[in-house]
Amino acid sequence: MTQPSQAMRDAFLLRLLEAMRQDEKLFFVTADFGSPVLDRIRAEHPERFINVGIAEQNLINVSAGLALEGYTVFAYAIAPFITMRCYEQIRVSLALLSAVRPLNVNLIGVGAGYSYVVSGPTHQCYEDLTIMRALPNLGLLSPADHVTAAAMFDTCLARRQPKYLRLDAQVLPVVHQAGAPDPSLGFAQLRRPGKICLIATGYPVHTALRVAEQFAASGRDLAVIDLFDIAGFDRPALLQTLADYAAIVTLEEGFKGRGGVDALFFDLLADAPPRPMLNLGVAPGYRFELGSRVQLHEQVGIGPNAVRAALTAFIDRHHL
């Protein structure tokens, strides 16, 4: 019996709604972006639900001010806008200020990668991990399913630091059927055997699983890791896990070669024994083609077919 899927934001916001009933120090601020669960928060807690309007810069600064007064703040907007429109506010009033004063502001960005399939490049988000991981003191959480997203609410409360939580806008299948993964590890191994390990975060975890299943059907095992805590994962544990594999493949729904997940692994593996690595991501560029998310992914090199082809060539090239 598999768990029914739910939107990540609904799963997360239901946890928040519940917690706001008990804890008067929780505050919700949105930049005019909603959800059905949000309507319930607004109705039940009008004093601690603020819509700043379409004003992300103010969203961040007001959230910082509330946090300085002791509130745990959840700031909510579409992913590209809550990261890029107000980047300097995040840098100055959250990342930098939190070096001196504790601030628990949780930026909830909805619409990771190509989630907003037909809305085009303004609403799609291929740069957020790159720019957000550049900031010290900022947590970075990227769930692949709603089970993980809901559990991240506890992480948001427990870690008293600014964070960016990137949620997919689409309802995705559950990958953690046995329950939410261990937050202290920051990653979870979804498939273990094989010479090659695929690492992904968010939606691409599903692509990696699909491709691994296809390879398994033809007799080759591929390991798959869901890296859901981009900034706070257990580095020694991940390095130790990766030591079992002859080759590493990263897959991201963000620009390739621009400082995202691929760069994270260049850094992580810099002192590890050299081994073949393949980094798959979105070919940098802005495109206006319409189609399904998988179709768009195939065009930029991260759809299941594109990944399978790249992997096959990688395996041949390195005689894996």
Binding site: A55, Q57, N61, G65, L68, E69, Y71, L96, L97
Partner: protein
Amino acid sequence: MNSPEHALSAKARWVWRETLRIHRRAPETRLASSLSSIEIFVALYYGGILRHDAAEPLAELRDRLIISKGHGSICMYPILADLGFFPVEELDKVCQAGGFLGGIPDPVIPGYETVNGSLGHGLGVAAGMALGLKRKASDRAVFVLAGDGELHEGANWEAAMFAAHHGLDNLNLIVDDNRISMLDYTNKIVGHGDLAGRFAAFGWQAEEVDGHDVVQVRERLAAMKESHSGKPKVLVAKTRKGHGVPKLEGEPLCHIINPKPELLDQLLGEAP
């Protein structure tokens, strides 16, 4: 001669001299913009406006002061030292290794609340604090000092709309309207027109004051703090950048001009 008015004026004069001395030792500091706001700070701290606690700078019972025009507040260093926020000896280490009083103040300095080297952030953060205080049913006030130049940053006006909409009458903005940005007079860059009128149009209670008349400034600040009419409040202080220093005052490029040490010595020697 010992009237409170005289004491405030004398204190302002003392801060002016100390600020010149700091700049004499640390020319990396911004002098001109630190001279336009002296009377405002003196009125806040010595005029009984701002509740503060040097022993516990972030005490819950303090009134909050966000110094949004971070660069132009070197004059705060002698004030905070004088009030006991940190040892006076720190004033000899401005911009030096081992000190914490930088060319631009950061919140590692006791008495500073937020990061303000980057302009245009203070009002929004202050609005969030003011909202938080209201929700906590606290009667503490939030003050913000912003420069007229940084009001070119659009985020200020997002915050201005927000504060008015939420009736944040515990929020008190002081604009150090010295009318000069880095490269020119603000009215030659992008003019603010009638600044008080603009805030009034945004739903604020707005008035003006001569920003170098410390007694007037104190009176207006006291009245502003006590006023709770459901509107955020702004006091536009008409000031002069580089106040009291020839070659700075009235010079549109004064933000980036460092007066020669001899001139500073001469001014300090001449001063009554």
